[in-house]
């Protein structure tokens, strides 16, 4: 019990609470929302965003950000399609590894500019958002393949995307494995703790001799690999790919991370929170039509949730600061 409690500290608990509330209300309106199929879909939809959010968390913890995730994801999704066009019998694992490698390469490009050239991540990834997307489109027009459909991909690939083990979708399993590894490393490894240290106080990190550049670079590479994987999984799940896959995903990812309690200025937050944030946001988006909210409101969910989350955090922080100030003045009197 104690263990569970420490695992789900404050923020995670409140997200789970919000999640339960959303699910309960929606299930009340339409019980099929909590049918096995409904839950299956809910987790499936959240899995890809959760993967992206896990990678993004590694970066945000170190006071960085990656706005190019949508473009990288689109690029690797398109890559997996192209691999099947080249050889329809390509093994699934090879496609996955290729996607991760391409993603990691994109991450390394971002990471090198941030960690070595010391260009702010916001600017770098804003630039590569264009560049990677442009390469994606350029590739599509150069080869003349603007859309890749399910019948051009191997059946194994497609069945992997929609398959499940013991009722748990493959995609969700992969997200859970990534979550487990990232969570374990951040919590238990020195290098993981150093990511928090870098984000918490860069100057202190430098004084403590933490190799901040190397750590940040590695974070970008790992995050890139996760994004690459997410792109491949997207392809295998949806079975239709064009060069615009993943457009605008950066907003959803940043929103999930922030809602999940990762401080935008680094130093705190967990991958579990970020993944739960992703689950919460996709669940809300899925619940809105059932609750009779006009479809167009869905498009405002991510932005609104992000604003709500940072506002709540700030309000709590101000109250704590006020309490500390009062206590201090009492001590002084």
């Amino acid at each position: 019990m104690n263990r569970v409690h420490s695992l789900l500290s404050g923020r995670e608990m409140s997200i789970v609470g919000a999640l339960v509330a959303v699910v309960a209300v929606t299930a009340f309106v339409n019980p099929s929302f909590v049918s096995p199929q409904g839950l299956h879909d809910m987790f499936l939809n959240a899995s890809i965003i959760a993967l992206l959010a896990i990678g993004q968390t590694l970066l945000v913890i170190t006071r960085n950000i990656d706005l190019s995730v949508g473009s990288v994801m689109g690029l690797t999704a398109y890559l997996s399609g192209q691999m099947f066009i080249a050889d329809s019998g390509t093994p699934v694992i090879v496609v996955m590894l290729a996607g991760m490698a391409l993603g990691a390469a994109c991450g390394a490009f971002n990471g090198a500019l941030v960690a070595i050239a010391k260009v702010p991540a916001l600017v770098v990834t804003l630039g590569t958002l264009y560049v990677f997307r442009g390469i994606d489109y350029g590739w599509a027009s150069a080869t003349g393949v603007h859309q890749i459909n399910a019948d051009q991909m191997s059946p194994e690939f497609l069945s992997f995307g929609s398959g499940s083990v013991l009722g748990i979708p493959h995609l969700t399993l992969i997200a859970l494995v990534a979550l487990g590894i990232a969570g374990y490393a951040l919590h238990n490894w020195r290098s993981g703790r150093e990511l928090y240290a870098i984000g918490s106080n860069p100057q202190a990190a430098r004084l403590a001799g933490i190799p901040a550049g190397r750590r940040v670079f590695t974070s970008f590479v790992i995050s890139g690999a996760l994004v690459g994987l997410a792109g491949v999984l997207h392809a295998s799940y949806f079975g239709t790919i064009n060069a615009s896959v993943g457009t605008g995903k950066e907003l959803a990812v940043v929103a999930a991370v922030v809602v999940g309690g990762v401080a935008i200025f680094g130093g705190s937050g967990t991958v579990l929170g970020a993944a739960l944030g992703a689950l919460l946001l996709t669940t809300i988006t899925g619940a809105l039509p059932i609750l009779g909210v006009p479809a167009f409101w869905q498009r405002a969910v991510d932005g609104a949730a992000l604003l709500l989350a940072i506002s709540l955090d700030r309000a709590v922080m101000l109250r704590v600061a006020e309490r500390l100030r009062k206590e201090r003045s009492l001590r002084r009197v």
């Binding site: 260009v119 264009y130 997307r133 442009g134 489109y137 100057q203 907003l251 932005g303």
Partner: protein
């Protein structure tokens, strides 16, 4: 590492009268693009094409001018294109509802101001980080645009106003919207470079605490900037809607990136306190010219975006590379200020700025 930083002293001058090296490079590049364009591309140098080229960048220019002062103070507004989209959608919805265009204009401007002040309220009054807030409102305002108008398009705007967004001033190749952009740029240049407000922008961007201690009302200044930004975005939305005779919720989608790219390429530091209106104007002209040349040579939009992205990255890399090159050379003789007064804390200058476009690459605690 910090030592090497200390060994060089920025000797750059402020003010437009000084030699603006990055701006000079940009203008030279502009000339290059235009010369190359006229030489290699048939039809580039024709008046019609120049008008089109200028017209095509109207909205980006307005957004960039909205962003410039905000970035000078070290903040950012990523929601500009979404405000444009919302205002365009609002224009469409009101027009559909039979509201006269004369009424729509002030309402839309007011809406822009309102959205800007929501940003300002959250950032300035509530103390939230500008980056997070405006990523949030980027999504929120775009979403609200769909709520207002759905995903359809509204057309058929009054024929007596549309020419204002498409035609040239009689007898010239200057489109009316470009005239508007010019006026905005000149106004921005005067305010930024020749008024107490402008001085305050730089002071806030380079040393917010000192600005506060000097009696500058930082909050009020910031609040105003976000509102002005909202209004400029609303103006841009009106031009956009009339120009294409189409009000859609996705108008200007992604345009914030082009505007930010233009501002940064123009030599404005993302950390604030550095940059000029001339620089940003040159960057806009360069990007507009480049886009047009590429367009005439049948380069797709997507490849143009790659070039925009690369320009953005290069613009921040140039000062870094220049600094590295400078460090190879022996340090310049230091300022002959005071023969030998010691000081316990070293004079640590954040970062030597060889071309006047530093983006403070060594400031780790900011993005």
């Amino acid at each position: 590492m910090s030592d090497q930083k200390l060994a060089t002293v920025p000797r750059r001058r402020f003010g437009v009268g000084a030699v603006l090296r990055w701006e000079t490079i940009l203008l030279a590049l502009c000339v290059l693009v235009f010369v190359f364009g006229s030489a290699s591309t048939p039809g580039f140098a024709e008046a019609d094409n120049i008008s089109f080229l200028l017209l095509d960048y109207t909205e980006v220019a307005l957004l960039a001018m909205a962003l410039l002062p905000i970035i000078l103070t070290g903040h950012i507004d990523l929601s500009v294109a979404s405000i444009l989209g919302f205002c365009s959608a609002l224009t469409g919805a009101l027009w559909n509802a039979g509201v006269s265009f004369e009424t729509i204009v002030p309402v839309v401007l007011l809406a822009g101001a309102l959205l800007g002040s929501v940003n300002a309220g959250l950032i300035v009054k509530f103390g939230l980080p500008a980056l997070a807030v405006t990523i949030g409102t980027l999504g929120l305002y775009r979403g609200l645009a769909y709520v207002v108008l759905g995903d359809g398009a509204v057309t058929g705007f009054p024929a007596n106003y549309r020419p204002l967004a498409t035609d040239t001033v009689p007898g010239t190749f200057l489109p009316y919207p470009t005239l508007l952009v010019l006026v905005v740029c000149v106004l921005a240049a005067v305010v930024v470079h020749y008024t107490p407000i402008g001085r305050s922008l730089y002071a806030v961007g380079l040393g917010e605490q000192t600005a506060r201690f000097s009696g500058i009302r930082v909050e009020r200044l910031r609040f105003t900037l976000y509102i002005v930004s909202g209004v400029l975005c609303a103006v841009a939305s009106l031009v956009y809607t009339l120009r294409y005779n189409s009000a859609r919720a996705d108008n200007g989608y992604g345009m914030e990136l082009i505007a930010v790219a233009a501002v940064l390429l123009g030599g404005v530091s993302i950390f604030g306190g550095r940059g000029t209106v001339i620089g940003v104007s040159s960057a806009l002209l360069l990007m507009a010219g480049l886009r047009n040349v590429l367009f005439l040579n049948d380069v797709t939009n997507e490849i143009q975006n790659v070039i925009n992205g690369l320009l953005l990255i290069i613009s921040v890399l140039v000062p870094v590379i220049a600094t590295l090159l400078r460090r190879r050379r022996p340090p310049a003789p230091a300022a002959a200020a005071d023969p030998a007064p010691p000081e316990p804390e070293p004079v640590s200058v954040p970062d030597p700025d060889p071309v006047g476009v530093s983006h403070g690459p060594n400031e780790e605690d900011q993005r």
